[in-house]
Symmetry: C2
Subunit: 196 residues, 2 copies
DNA sequence: TGAAATAGAGACCGATCGGTCTCAGTTAAG
DNA sequence: CTTAACTGAGACCGATCGGTCTCTATTTCA
């Protein structure tokens, strides 16, 4: 409880905490009180530092999406081969939906809240989704160039299939108790890649 | 504007109208005023007939899901072969997300609102999602029995891949202007079925 | 020591929402 | 005609929410 002229709390840690809550509960279901409790700051500090709930969410969303994109690209770049990299990404998604615990994907979870009547936010989410598809596509293109998948396979179509199917798993998985669907989809996708 | 001791409006038509609004906008984003305007009835009539917004949504959701399930089973049953039936289902999803216009799937759109802290509604949605997967699985089992797909293909895994990928398309497609992703996923799935 | 900057606590406001209630008008049945 | 059932219109209520504001306390710097 220190005080003083400089920031008395860590804005980055507060943003991280806010991201966790938004991720787990979604934008609308998250109240100011929950955010303040998780961030450990007062109402006034939130508005002085982040402007509004909406702007706070935008920053949390960007943080989430860019971290996820970097994670994907890191896995693909660090794998023994491009195809193994894509498979490794799929494996991490099975464990975690779309990025952690059983919270699904922060993009998919919140898309429905904004796509109607909020073109700015929808465009932001679209950009993040496209970045994920692009990372997968590049990995598959390299896999095709390396002869790991057939020459007439379509990296773009496959990337979208992978991204969409796990987006679906992430959304529906929040309502299911076990991970049976996630495991089924992972098996099916691995088989697709092995025969592609 | 007729009046009298019997129901003066058609509850079934009102429910249908409510379903359309819930489908297009989602549960939380739909206000009582919008529902009343779409249903063409007064506040009192809604509560007398349907009980509450929540109960109205439950009935609308059941109507949507059971209609979708029947549609799928009808397409598969009426096709020239089981595999062609499954392909036909995929084709209708490409045109329509998960059941109509550009509204996505009523299940996926509203899942995020209820999966946290509303186990009753989550279970209801889970049941509907399972029914769709089951219809696809049965079609694929018949296709395998007919020799249309390989003997060692897994109908359950494939059904979940198909259902999940289009659930993902339905969710993300609401934020995209064109149907490029839907077409990509359709192409990828058809190729999977042809080589399965 | 005193001004400035920052913080927590919390009162307060306006808007919205779901839900209840009253009232007037209309139609069918007895 | 009377009564009962049903309707639309809309006032009304309690709760919640995002956002603003005030007050006080603390720390740094001149």
């Amino acid at each position: 409880m220190t005080r003083g002229p400089e920031k008395q709390f860590d804005p980055d840690a507060a943003l991280e905490a806010a991201m966790e809550v938004f991720w787990a509960k979604g934008y609308e279901a998250t109240s100011l009180a929950e955010l303040l409790a998780a961030m450990g700051i007062a109402r006034k500090s939130l508005y002085d530092t982040f402007g509004s709930k909406r702007e706070l969410f935008e920053r949390a969303l960007d943080r989430y999406a860019e971290r996820e994109r970097a994670r994907l690209e890191g896995i693909i770049a660090g794998a023994t081969s491009p195809l193994e990299g894509v498979k490794a990404v799929i494996a991490t998604w099975r464990q975690a939906g779309c990025g952690g615990e059983r919270k699904g994907c922060m993009l998919g979870t919140n898309l429905a809240h904004f796509e109607a009547g909020d073109e700015t936010m929808a465009a932001r989410m679209r950009r993040h989704l496209d970045a994920v598809e692009r990372a997968l596509k590049h990995g598959l293109e390299r896999a095709r160039a390396a002869g790991e998948i057939s020459e007439d396979a379509d990296p773009g179509d496959l990337a979208r299939l992978i991204a969409s199917s796990f987006q679906g798993v992430a959304v529906t998985g929040r309502a299911r108790k076990d991970g049976a669907v996630a495991r089924s989809v992972e098996r099916a996708l691995l088989r697709v890649l092995e025969t592609a």
